[in-house]
């Protein structure tokens, strides 16, 4: 920038004094990784409570787990982390972990089996939102100390019945499996909260990074842990800055102010690909977009109508336009890359077919309300659907609201149609099967708000038992086939119109290597990143 430009600047922004120029291209320090991401979903960083995306990213880097996923080889599945090895008892109900020796927490305390037992018991006893991931194995606040116990450097967990071992271990790779430093946490206990209040904003882990600060809606700062058992990470400081706008993230990246931009929209991805020194990496994520048709609605509960709606989605049109590069068509409840995932996508955009089905059901002058979260891509999906439905003679009214507004009505079974997104909670097919196709009691009194099938008012049409059977099957091939069968039936009869699976496009400065946002199975990891 020359002096003349500088002069112009000053004039343009109403300054008499010349401002020194701001360099057009900056570069982040070599030992620092700077990421732009939306972090407004973080409400706590306590691993027993944290459940949203950005919070899971923090946890994954700060807390070690018994078993963990390797960011450079996610396909390999769970690997030893704080537990060096494990054995399953003959009845298949008890797993005994042997702890890795010489691992330290950030405080300097050694990581022991006692800490691991405390962490899991704590998660069960606190019974926060993600607790179901553990309590589904029969752990309760009452029996936690017997079912989860430490003995020397061994940790034993005993489930209420026999489950597929992979299912149990997969669940332990989730955020809630994070092992906390018992001594530090209990030193900060207030009113018997097992340190929950303190851990909401502080950390006590053994992972490769130490949480320096989390400023809500501003930034998360991590510093490397030099004594990490796997070796100190290359990036000594990681800063995640909350930047909402895609355009802002793109400009920051193009100017070299950040190394990674995680929320670019398709237009900005296209733009950024033309910039120098920037590359884009795709990762298939687990998040699915779907429509849920309320089965308490007299018309939407007709089988032909459910079927008709599946033809009213312009799958390809959307994928190739405003969802370009960021969603792929997927009409099954198990995300691709999951055990038992299906690639069958039988439905296409077909107004005539939909009209026939509607006519067969004797539907006329149907008017429905669709609840949509205020995210732009969802509003556009909603409008595209509205447009298609209008051609088939259905009037669709869109109600846009914040996540919480819309969600509350969905949970209360009040919405006619809900445009939803669902991300798996742990890398096992049960995570989605157990919510889309499982509903043991469809009555209002059951109040099973955690189950999508219940929210939709659908009794799961006989799939409930099949899901229960699949989760205890230890033979991998058989288990896969069971899920394929469930999904086949689900596609035809369910009131869920499964539409898309997300692809996360991270835009990186081209010197960033080994970047991973955890694909469909876990959260982002930073310790393997180099520049």
């Amino acid at each position: 920038m020359n002096a003349f430009n500088r002069l112009l600047t000053s004039a343009a922004i109403g300054l008499a004094v010349g401002v020194t120029s701001f360099s057009a291209f900056a570069e982040t320090p070599a030992n620092m990784l700077v990421i732009a991401n939306r972090i407004d979903d973080v409400t706590t960083v306590d691993p027993a409570e944290s459940f949203e995306f950005a919070g899971s990213d923090i946890s994954r880097n700060v807390y070690g787990r018994l078993v963990n996923l390797d960011p450079l080889n996610l396909e390999a599945g769970y690997q030893p982390d704080l537990a060096e090895s494990w054995e399953v008892s003959e009845d298949g109900k008890t797993i005994t972990f042997t702890m890795r020796e010489g691992v330290k927490f950030h405080s300097g305390n050694p990581v022991t089996a006692e800490d691991a037992a405390f962490s899991l018991q704590r998660a069960v006893i606190l019974n926060k939102t993600p607790a179901f991931i553990l309590t589904q194995f029969g752990f309760t606040p009452e029996n936690a100390t017997e079912t989860i116990r430490a003995d020397g450097n061994k940790l034993m967990i005993t489930t209420d019945k026999k489950y597929a071992t992979s299912f149990v271990l997969n669940c332990l790779t989730a955020t809630i499996g994070g092992i906390v430093d018992k001594a530090t946490v209990m030193a900060n206990e207030v009113d018997g909260d097992m340190g929950n209040t303190w851990l909401k904003t502080n950390s006590a882990g053994s992972g490769p990074y130490i949480l320096d600060s989390w400023k809500p809606n501003e930034s998360v700062t991590l510093t490397s842990f030099p004594d990490y058992y796997g070796g100190a990470p290359a990036m000594e400081r990681v800063i995640v800055r909350h930047v909402i706008e895609s355009a802002s993230q793109r400009l920051l990246l193009e100017r070299g102010d950040i190394d990674v931009a995680r929320n670019l929209n398709p237009e900005d991805i296209a733009g950024v690909m033309e910039a120098d020194g920037v590359k884009v990496e795709d990762e298939l994520k687990g998040r699915l977009m779907y429509l849920a048709l309320n089965q308490k609605h007299p018309v939407l509960s007709k089988p032909e109508v459910r079927q008709a709606f599946k033809y009213l989605i312009d799958y390809e049109g959307m994928r190739d336009s405003f969802l370009k590069g960021q969603y792929t068509i997927h009409q099954n409840f198990l995300p691709k890359t999951y055990l038992g995932a299906s690639d069958e996508n039988p439905f296409s955009y077909d107004i005539e077919k939909a009209k026939e089905l509607l006519a067969a059901a004797g539907v006329e002058n149907l008017e429905v309300e669709i609840g949509v979260r205020e995210a732009q891509e969802r509003i556009e999906i909603g409008q595209s659907f509205q447009n298609a439905a209008a051609q088939a003679g259905i009037k669709v009214n869109i109600t846009v609201g914040t996540a919480k507004q819309i969600l509350a009505r969905y949970r209360a079974r009040e919405l006619d149609v809900y445009l939803g997104a669902w991300g798996p909670d742990y890398p096992d097919p049960q995570t989605n099967a157990g919510t889309f196709a499982y509903n043991p009691d469809n009555s209002d009194e059951a109040n099973a708000t955690g189950l999508l099938a219940w929210r939709t008012g659908w009794d799961a049409g006989g799939l409930t038992e099949k899901v229960e059977a699949a989760v205890t099957e230890n033979d991998r091939e058989k288990r896969v086939q069971m899920y394929l069968d469930i999904q086949k039936e689900f596609r035809e009869i369910s009131p869920f119109v499964m539409m898309f699976q997300q692809i996360e496009q991270s835009a990186l400065r081209d010197n960033v290597e080994n970047w991973s946002t955890g694909q469909a199975v876990t959260a982002a990891a930073y310790w393997q990143v180099t520049k």
Partner: protein, 357 residues
């Protein structure tokens, strides 16, 4: 009334207080009383809105996957099972002890949050009002003195455009041109990413903190970030301040004593600044105080466009996620500032303006 607010047109008003002359003690008592009543009303309305809102605060905390038992536990923990009035009284009791409660969403004390976000807004609004005054007052005076000249026309157009521009749009365009295309200013946010937390936070105002720390690089960077949103806010207050200055000046310039002064052969400079301008100072301060109050309370959209972590965007985010403790705390602080600035300008009137007595 404009919600985009930065170009607000609220007129200064004569306070009911100044209608009668009260002894000082009684006046202060009354003032205090009226502040508390207003604040109480403010709190009550916000509280009620929070409770009738269809956003479920419990859901906001526990998230989509929570089981019913988790949900119920949090419901009770928040005291939502108690009658509304009881909840309000509890809340009031805490506020009287300067405890605004804990943010539902980030588990921190609301007072801590406000202490963090308010300086950001204060810094932005203060710089904005400085622009507005430094440029707006001379422009208004000049426009009045040279009524009908080109400078008057320019001032008029500037003000009209300012009143008519959607600030969020102008902000977007400003970012696009000055940051996106030209790269002359810093982008959204208060400082560039590697200057975050570099200087210790003493006052919370980054520009001041950087100077105190003697860190010139941070100061420059922070300045490059604040300049665009502050100029924008400054422009909108300039529009208002220059118009008001002009009309106050015109009123003075047509007064008898000015003609007399001119006849006596006083220099034009002295006529304008020593006589006319001196007489509009009080009115002007009122206008500026109001304008300042508006910038402090109402730069929500500017803050959103520029990702400015200030109190406006804090309240908005909190509101949309049903974090009612945060909304209430923010509203009280902002309302209090507004009331205080109003009282301040009323007092000025009382003390200095002979006509108000």
């Amino acid at each position: 009334m404009s919600l985009t607010d930065d170009n607000n047109q609220r007129r200064p008003r004569r306070a009911p207080l100044s209608e009668k002359a009260w002894p000082l003690a009684k006046t202060s008592m009354l003032t205090l009383g009226s502040i508390s009543v207003t604040l109480l009303g403010l709190l009550f309305i916000t509280f009620i809105i929070g409770r009738v809102m269809p956003i479920d605060p419990v859901l906001a905390i526990v998230g989509e996957r929570a089981s019913q038992s988790t949900y119920d536990a949090v419901y009770q923990q928040l005291g939502l099972d108690k009658p509304l009035l009881v909840q309000f009284l509890y809340y009031l009791w805490d506020v009287l002890h300067l405890d605004f409660g804990t943010s539902l969403l980030n588990a921190r004390p609301v007072s801590e949050d406000i202490a963090r976000v308010f300086p950001a807004t204060l810094e932005l609004a203060t710089l904005g009002i400085i622009f507005g005054v430094v440029l707006g007052v001379p422009l208004g005076v000049l426009a009045a003195v040279r009524k009908g000249s080109w400078i008057d026309q320019v001032a008029r157009v500037l003000a009209l455009v300012g009143y008519s521009m959607p600030i969020f749009w102008l902000g977007l365009m400003g970012l696009l041109v000055f940051y996106g295309i030209l790269g002359w200013v810093g982008g959204p946010g208060r400082v560039g990413i590697f200057y975050v937390d570099v200087v210790p936070s003493v006052t919370g105002l980054i520009l001041v903190d950087a100077l105190l720390d003697g860190n010139w690089a941070v100061f420059k960077d922070a300045f490059s970030h604040i300049i665009l949103p502050a100029s924008l806010l400054g422009y909108f207050s300039l529009a208002y301040i220059s118009r008001m200055t002009r009309s106050f000046m015109l009123e003075q310039l047509s007064a008898e004593y000015i003609t007399t002064a001119r006849v006596k052969g006083m220099s034009e400079w002295d006529v304008i600044w020593k006589h006319a301008f001196k007489n509009i100072r009080v009115q002007l301060i009122t206008v500026i105080a109001l304008s300042y109050a508006n910038l402090l309370e109402g730069s929500v959209l500017t803050e959103i466009i520029f990702s400015w972590p200030g109190i406006g965007s804090y309240i908005t985010t909190a509101l949309l996620s049903a974090d009612m403790n945060a909304v209430l705390g923010g509203t009280v602080v902002v309302g209090l500032i507004f009331i205080l600035l109003n009282i301040f300008s009323d007092l000025l009137y009382k003390v200095f303006d002979p006509r108000a007595k």
